[in-house]
Amino acid sequence: MPEFQVGDITLEIDEDGFIQEPDAWDEAVAKALAKTEGVDELTEEHWKLVNYLRDYYLEFGIAPMIRKLCKATGFKLKKVYELFPSGPAKGACKVAGLPKPTGCV
């Protein structure tokens, strides 16, 4: 499995660049993952999204519905794509350290 280096930590990632141990996630990891998504700086708005995804994941064990994410953050989907160009699932979830969404989504 490919690896991903953040400071002194080495994390396993899958072939789509998602980290394999969601528990190993922290702010530094998020910043590093964001760079792989072409997001050089995480603004307050980025964090609002990432923190919501993170909290939801810790409570329910999966990613939230996209519309829930929009409602909770007050961001239109267009805005989510502006923040994370590969979108809520492939971009924002990756930066928040969630596993890649599965099923027909």
Binding site: R67, L77, T102, G103
Partner: protein, 533 residues
């Protein structure tokens, strides 16, 4: 085009034996007609090339290159042992008969090739002829199982390369069965592709992760391939009810586990996660039409997906039984399948071969129910609310497999102004696959997504563009591709994004029930919000 895919090369060649050159592909219609402007076609990394068995420009099954001679032999022996099992009634009673017909007969007329969108869109690359894969399997059958004369049936050397390439090649087919439809003697190349996938999964433990590990296995373990447990799905559907109520001004409540309801509605759970306006619209319509219906929160019964349909009969049967047992427990009169093509194939057609007695509960397509709602006139529609160009994509499992062609058109006729609707060419039972069929839409590892858009998805994109050629191609003129199937919707979404066709040409997509609610009288306007997702 670069190709060294003689049957000898298939067994002996080094690395990729076939590469697609973009300049061999036929240009798309405007405004995407400049081949040089096509999106970047990502190539496989050196690392992936060294690690996995290679066939062509992409890798999807990801079979590691064997490290020892023992591993090489094991691949060959397991393949043969799995193949032998599929040729016996006790191990393959569901598909033995069509397997034998397709194995023993082929007139080599190549009629099937002209029917295949992947072969055509590849620039007619020999590797992607539907009959090429079948011919390799057939030669293995005659030489190694029937030990017949290679002079009569053709020679092939069965080694680890043949095995791994054949398994990869079984995932270069959408299983759309357009070739089977056109074959003058009834050979089903798609069925053979799926039988190869079955050997790989059922005997060798080889299957794409998205279909198996985080697909059917996850569904049987937690209840849904999306990872939703019963608790999460109920919470999500409650949210959808509230959201739909807010957006339409009509109180929507989804019934759960209602014993004795007429209908158990089973959605593809991907709709709930990614396209909640679809299950929201179903709930609103079914309630407004006064139908007696329910969802089930039993394990796997709130997710109509059954990925076994694409690669494994055992996983298929396990999932189908879960769906039927849930229906039996609720004592419903019938199961109705939401907008999901492969779920139709699973529960209505293939399940017919495995269920007996009181598990043989009637199953029906939602297309028919929606048509009946329109016919009975219990809901009033104002077509003028759908005043935008609409085309209809036909999911293969609805049209070619089941012959469900007219119901969705009758619905469209009732909710879309006649002059706004245009058919794709061809359509109905002669349709082309969206390019996401057989699970491709949910597979994206390495560069597979690029390959999927450049080959299988290209024909559907071409058809969509052709259907809208009489319209101004810009975002100021939004156009709707109606695709009543989750898998097709996922593929059409991805290809629109790959070509940036929403921003460039105003091409948007969605299901059928969304169009219905958008036209419903008494509902707040603009249920379709044209917000990219």
């Amino acid at each position: 085009m670069s190709c060294s895919c003689s049957f000898g090369d298939f067994s002996e060649g080094e690395g990729s034996i076939a590469q697609i050159k973009p300049e061999d592909q036929k240009p798309l219609p405007p405004p995407f007609d400049d081949l040089d402007e096509e999106p970047f076609f990502e190539q496989l990394s050196e690392e992936a090339r060294n690690k996995y068995a290679l066939l062509d420009d992409t890798i999807v099954v990801k079979i590691p290159v064997p490290a020892t001679e023992e591993e090489e032999e094991r691949l060959v022996n397991q393949f043969l042992s799995g193949f032998r099992k599929l040729l016996t009634a006790e191990n393959n009673w569901t598909f033995l008969e069509p397997l034998m017909i397709s194995l023993e007969h082929c007139a080599k007329c190549q009629t099937c090739s002209d029917a295949c969108h992947i072969f055509e869109e590849s620039g007619r690359h020999p590797l992607y002829r539907p009959s090429y894969r079948s011919e390799i399997l057939r030669r293995i059958y005659f030489k190694y199982i029937k030990t017949g004369s290679t002079w009569v049936h053709g020679d092939i050397d069965l080694n680890w390369k043949t095995v791994t390439r054949l398994i990869e090649l079984s995932y270069r087919c959408n299983l759309c069965r357009r070739c089977a439809q056109t074959c003058p003697i009834g050979v089903d190349n798609a069925l053979l592709a799926r039988e190869i996938r079955k050997i790989a999964s059922q005997e060798m433990g080889i299957a794409p992760k998205e279909l198996h590990e985080v697909g059917s296995v996850l569904q049987l373990k937690v209840g849904s391939s999306t990872g939703m447990t019963a608790l999460v799905v109920k919470d999500n559907v409650e949210f959808i009810d509230e959201d739909t109520t807010e957006r339409t001004g009509i109180e929507v409540e989804t019934p759960w586990d209602k014993e004795g309801a007429d209908i158990l509605l089973i959605h593809n759970a991907g709709e709930i996660m990614a396209w909640p306006e679809n299950p929201g619209a179903f709930a609103l319509l079914f309630n407004a039409a006064g139908l007696s219906w329910t969802l089930s929160s039993d394990l796997a019964a709130y997710d109509g997906i059954n990925y076994g349909v694409w690669y494994d009969d055992i996983q298929f049967a396990r999932t189908a039984l879960k769906h039927l047992e849930a229906a039996k427990r609720l004592k419903v009169k019938k199961i109705v399948v939401g907008e999901c093509g492969h779920a139709h194939k699973a529960i209505t057609v293939i399940a017919d071969k495995i269920v007996t007695g009181d598990l043989n509960i009637p199953r029906e397509s939602s297309m028919n129910i929606l048509r009946d709602i329109v016919r009975e006139g219990r809901i009033k529609f104002d077509k003028s609310r759908n005043d935008f160009p609409v085309t209809l994509h036909d999911p293969c499992n609805l049209v070619r497999l089941m012959g469900i062609v007219a119901p969705q058109r009758e619905v469209i006729k009732a909710v879309v102004p006649e002059e706004r609707f245009r058919e794709m060419a061809p359509h109905g039972v002669d349709n082309y696959c969206c390019g996401g069929g057989s699970g491709f839409a949910i597979m994206s590892g390495l560069n597979f997504e690029h390959w999927r858009h450049r080959l299988p998805g290209r024909r559907k994109f071409r058809q969509i563009l052709e259907a809208f050629q009489d319209e101004p191609m810009d975002i100021e003129h939004p156009k709707y591709v109606c695709a009543p199937c989750s898998n097709c919707k996922g593929q059409i979404r991805d290809i629109i994004r790959y070509y940036d066709a929403w921003e460039t040409a105003g091409i948007y997509y969605g299901g059928l029930v969304e169009l219905m609610v958008n036209a419903m009288e008494g509902v707040e306007p603009n249920y379709i919000d044209w917000e990219w997702r």
